[in-house]
Symmetry: C2
Subunit: 363 residues, 2 copies
């Protein structure tokens, strides 16, 4: 780290780790013969996406992301949240600029609005009951396909349940279930005489697990560029792969309560407590020194708006480390998407130097 750092808190990105994470998934999917449609909702940065993914097709979670990436030359975009018909004029405006923007839906009402607007759509398929979509056997699936007519682009699914798959067997089942659901849905549409060119699936856990992508045309993943404690808790990565951290400073001590206070509260870290549902609860994040080496059992156990409370993991045999006022530390976050979303820019560390890189915010 350079000797002079910005005021804390700030979001630090380790570029060598981003590159390594990008290469790992690219090599894996190359081996399976299926392209990646990067989900940009985690990093939301043209500079980081261009570096790791070039100008290849992307996935977005908002139309504002689509507009931001379109302005930077991205012209093949899937908006992977069920479409609100009020938003179709914005979709149409992007398409009129030559952007191949495809929307997502799972109801007849959406399909009628989208078909009337002449916008291509994917039908969302429910792989595991986690969120949205139609089961492959739902009689609505071919009905909606028929409403879309030549605007039917294909089918898409996301195995949200893979975030709760804590064994290799459970992950393999989630990955196979995701593939079988979306390929099965494509077969239903084709059996009804429709074209179904796109068969899209993905989540970071399944993308790093799946072995059979027969019939699948693209894989989506996003958080893998940064990884986080939730992914480490699932066994998809190690702590050494985590590319995003938040740099904070010690501002006080309460030795009577076994606490150290920092200037990194929930504004800096987000309120995400994703590891609370995992076998190992990491509080609001795991604390490392400024070089990135974990301080044994030291967690962010509490957070108010601009205060973080550090304490040892319950039952730890380690002593509370001596960290004087002014000590800089890093916090590894539970959920990189939520933590990154607290910032309008990253400080990117590459070859020992820091540079400021913009990220997109808002809707």
């Amino acid at each position: 780290m350079p000797p002079k750092l910005p005021d804390t808190p700030f979001a630090l990105v380790d570029l060598a780790r981003v590159d390594r994470n990008a290469t790992r998934l690219r090599d894996r999917l190359d081996g399976l013969g299926v392209p990646l449609r990067l989900h940009v909702k985690t990093v939301k940065s043209v500079e980081l996406v261009r570096r790791t993914h070039g100008r290849a097709p992307i996935t977005v979670s908002t139309l504002a992301e689509a507009e931001y990436f379109a302005a930077a030359g991205y012209d093949d975009i899937v908006y992977a949240v069920g479409i609100d018909p009020h938003k179709l004029p914005r979709v149409a405006a992007l398409r009129a600029r030559g952007i191949a923007l495809t929307v997502l839906l799972d109801s007849r009402a959406q399909a009628e609005a989208v078909a009337a607007a002449g916008i291509p759509a994917l039908i969302e398929i429910d792989a595991d009951g986690s969120r949205a979509g139609l089961r492959p056997a739902d009689p609505l699936l071919p009905e909606i396909g028929a409403v879309l007519g030549d605007r039917l682009a294909g089918v898409l699914t996301h195995a949200g349940g893979s975030y709760h798959a804590f064994t290799p067997e459970a992950r393999a089942a989630a990955a196979q279930g995701e593939r079988d659901a979306v390929v099965g849905a494509a077969e239903v549409l084709r059996a009804a005489g429709m074209d179904c060119p796109v068969v899209s699936l993905g989540s970071t856990p399944t993308a790093h697990t799946v072995r059979d992508l027969t019939g699948v045309t693209e894989v989506r993943a996003g958080v893998y560029l940064f990884f986080d404690l939730v992914m480490a808790g699932l066994g998809i990565c190690t702590l050494d792969d985590l590319a995003l951290s938040v740099v904070v400073t010690v501002i006080g001590h309460r030795p009577d309560r076994g606490r150290i206070l920092t200037d990194g509260g929930w504004m800096a870290l987000s309120r995400d407590r994703g590891t609370a549902e995992q076998p190992v609860d990491q509080g609001y994040g795991l604390v490392t020194d400024l070089a990135g080496t974990p301080l044994p059992d030291l967690l962010v156990t509490g957070a108010s708006q601009e205060h973080g409370i550090l304490a040892l993991r319950p039952g730890s045999g380690h002593p509370l480390p001596e960290l004087p006022v002014g000590t800089r530390l890093r916090v590894l976050p539970n959920h990189a998407c939520a933590t990154a979303a607290q910032y309008a820019f990253y400080h990117v560390l590459a070859d020992g130097a820091l540079s400021r890189v913009e990220r997109h915010t808002g809707w």
Copy 2:
């Protein structure tokens, strides 16, 4: 509400409620004869602060807030998070521009750095063990006062425990304890021969409860301008006082699971689950129609990045309401500070019209 609304999600502020909430606390503190030093960390908007508070003294939670409000003419500011010595040059730069900016500390190391920089400081007092500060009887208190010398501005406390006071008796005890701690600390300093002009306390629950402010020179509060479900759960306000909501749109249904999907996920609402620790858990927020009338027992029970899952409160006898795709709804948030922080601007509703008002983001 006007017929044409912005794309969802967006943060809606009901200005009549803000005004009413502001008047309520102003009248209360006028009756007690103590001025308010508004904490701007919740609304972070010059326009809303000027409307409700004029250019009177303010409290901030970051130096970026201090810089933003100083640029708008606020010149009496307390930065109420323990000072990181690295940040003193930014403090000094604001003071050199004529801003009466005071910092907060509770250690000898901070006091030495602050005194060397010639910056006035308040000593943080711990009223209830919630977070930072010295107990009034701590022998460090007069030692730090002596290190500060003529840079000692006074004492400040925040009864964080008032957020867990669920009966009128518990709230009264929290308010009295907050007052007694900070006044007691001032007396310790004065007994040691030091001046202690500022005796500052506050939290929204105690500010709305306290009856005895003898010896107190200012009260701090911030979230009361918006209020939220946490404050309603504490009995400090009613649902009818909540001035901040998030407008979302229905994007799908899972009747087999009793779920309705919206485009308002944790990006729109924040990950804050503050009511999870209260007697009534409100999920990620309580759902109302677009006019603001609660839909019986309908909560945001789950949230991913850009998806909200609505379902009935467990045990509800109500049916799931019929809310077609495209229906606009409002969500009342758990914690207004965290929800507002997800936005760079508000849509302010006044006299049936919406206008866009900037708010500050970042550090």
